[in-house]
Amino acid sequence: MDLVMLSRLQFATATMFHFLFVPLTLGLSIMIAIMETKYVRTGDKLYLSMTKFWGKIFLINFGLGIVTGITLEFQFGTNWSRYSAFVGDIFGALLAIEATAAFFLESTLIGIWIFGWKKISPKAHAAVMWLIAGASTLSAVWIIIANSWMQHPVGYVLRNGRAELSDFSAVIFQKFAILQFFHTISATYIVSAFFVMGVSAYHLLKKQSIQFFTKSFRIGLIFGLIFSIFTALEGDMHGVHVAEVQPAKLAAMEAHWETTSRAPLNLFAIPDEKNERNFIEIGAIPGLLSFLGYHDINAKVKGLKDFPMEERPPVLIPFLSFRTMVGLGTLFILLTIIGLLRRNRLLESPLYLKVMVLSIPLPYLAIEAGWVLAEVGRQPWIVYGLMKTSDAVSPLASSQVLVSLTAFILIYGLLGIVGFYLIIKNAAKNPVL
């Protein structure tokens, strides 16, 4: 396997593993802050127990997010040094701001939240969790601005063989970043919501701590319902913008080869990239692709054949990941609506509760699929239209990367098993009331 592929695999491994933990941190921090605030306001010790129960899981998850995050910062320099030299003026600044403004706050405050129960007032302690949630969100803002710049570079000039910053506000306020941020953050809330609902459902099935888990389920449900719907609606806006600024990605994720107006959407297809067609196409819905991409059933959708071969993304992975994401996203809306309707009869809905337990991994799958779509659909570019991924790698020996990739798979594999074991163990425990 060549250097570029190995480097890409390593980056994908590191980021996708990190992203198993970040979504839960983002959403659960808010939910725990809500619980702790309710405790401070009402004095009801049930809310304190909820804070501590979900908090314990949160901390295991948070720790894994932190350590796997260090990898990401190192990795731009270690494995993508040519990329770093090219984009550092812009991308490096965004990462440095993420560290100074967000990481410090998050990491300093977590120590205070863990250890400071008796050192600061209950009000202040609850405020600390709100600040942790805020800091994590701020971190997400900056990293998404950074990724959005890779997808749609703005506010720069090319000078001395590098991209140099020319307009900072253009970079941080660009439409792509705003749409991508809201899409991603709401998706992380879905992950967190389904986690809380699923774990609560498990305990409700066992009729354990019913009041505790009914309240927890409801908090998860409100989150899940609002953000499942929001992610879908906003996702449509984001998709329309992607169609406008990354037409090759749109063509790839739809396995759309021929430029046509009234372009149909295939429910399923298997692409034949070498022959620039699809082996099979199932369920072609006329005009739907034009409508989804441009909100105009007669719009012309550019096909892959109209892009030069060396500028086409791979087709199969974006196609499958898009459908996974959207299919699951639709399911999430369905499941949360059912939850809304049955929210007062949860104990009499064992089938629904069982489904919710089994659904815990589904938003994880959806969110990873979404990110895979974003990144693989951008290929062969590392910065869309500006720098190719193959020109971006560090000048290392393939053997070096093979060794580090193997180490990542082994160490992360072990960490993942241990981490999820601890999360599941603590989630399944009947809380001390």
Binding site: E73, A96, I110, I112, E164, S404, A407
Partner: protein
């Protein structure tokens, strides 16, 4: 002073603060199997850094992030050249981080033993490797005209590099044992204090050796000879080292820790001052040196980052100092009984 010069200084400062803060928790992690005679003492050692180690480690992320933002070419050459060393440091930091969190989660001796090893290895490896890599940076790396590293991890294991590794190891062990003297009581406190006093002469000798070796292996002294006032950094560092021992003997442990902090910062700046304006000297040809001037970002980025840093870094120092203050005092056996303790 120009933007690039200011950023060179800030870059050095961030690395110095990283070593000053994470340095003592590395030290404690290494001392851990030796000073912690039973589970209770081990837990006290971990909990002495429990609330603050995470915030300390972010100084590394910031130092790296600022290298990327202000000097992207230096970031790109440094991180790809030192690939193997940085990967080892990374894996060590990962297992150390989760060890703190996971160790207390299962009540089995075999489980705790695994995480104890992780804490030790996860502290020892970064301490030594950072010393080796920074010493090699001072000495000069085999960087060619395209910024490509023409060497391997084993090239870093030369005499000067290893001496740097030893220096950092001793600095962090000393710094860690002084911190423990502040945070512990009883037998553990006595053991920590004794450890600090035993380490001290070895640290002094190694520091002197390092200063001497730098004369032969590096060009660091050129800047000092051109501006002799700069020797005050070396004098201040050595004075702080003596002050540290003085304060330990007088049982004024916070002053001792503050002094050893100055020793670490002063040691890092010995190299930073000596390097200027180079960031990654090349031992193939000085024409291939990565400098603050040929590696920096555009003036616009440097200005924006300067504003960011002027706003946020003092705030960070303030709230981190507050966190240290909030958790001041000894870690006792009673503290271990709290459910949230590590």
């Amino acid at each position: 002073m120009d933007l690039q010069g200011i950023w060179f200084f800030l870059w050095g400062l961030l690395w110095a603060i990283f070593f000053m803060t994470d340095g003592f928790d590395f030290g404690i992690g290494i001392l851990y199997p030796f000073l912690g005679k039973n589970d209770s003492e081990k837990r006290i050692m971990i909990n002495s850094v429990g609330p603050i180690w995470n915030g300390n480690e972010v100084w590394l992320i910031t130092a790296g992030g600022v290298t990327f933002a202000a000097f992207p070419i230096a970031y790109s050459v440094m991180f790809s050249s030192l690939y193997s060393a940085l990967m080892l440091i990374l894996f060590a930091l990962i297992i150390r981080g989760v060890a703190f969190e996971f160790r207390g989660k299962v009540d089995k001796k075999s489980w705790r033993n695994i995480w104890d090893i992780a804490i030790f290895a996860g502290s020892f490896i970064p301490a030594v490797l950072f010393g080796i890599t920074f010493a090699n940076i001072f000495k000069g790396l085999p960087i060619d005209q395209s910024g490509v590293f023409q060497g391997s991890l084993f090239d870093l294991l030369n005499f000067y590099g290893i001496l740097g590794g030893l220096l950092f190891l001793l600095l962090f062990l000393f710094h860690g044992s002084v911190w423990l003297s502040i945070k512990t009581e009883g037998e553990l406190h006595e053991r920590s204090k004794t450890t600090a006093l035993i380490l001290w002469p070895f640290l002094l000798i190694t520091a002197v050796l390092f200063l001497g070796a730098s004369w032969f292996y590096t060009k660091l002294y050129n800047n000092y000879l051109a501006n002799p006032i700069l020797f005050s950094d070396i004098l201040l560092t050595v004075a702080a080292l003596f002050a540290s021992k003085f304060f330990i003997k007088r049982k004024e442990f916070f002053k001792a820790w503050f002094s050893s902090s100055i020793v670490i910062v002063g040691s890092v700046f010995f190299g930073i001052i000596g390097l200027y304006p180079n960031m990654l000297p090349s031992n193939i040809s000085t024409a291939f040196n990565v400098t603050a001037f040929n590696a920096s970002s555009s003036p616009l980025t440097l200005k924006i980052m300067l504003v960011v840093v002027i706003i946020f870094i003092p705030a960070v120092i303030a709230y981190q100092a507050w966190a240290y203050y909030l958790f001041r005092g000894k870690v006792t056996k009673e503290d271990l009984a709290h459910e949230e303790s590590y």
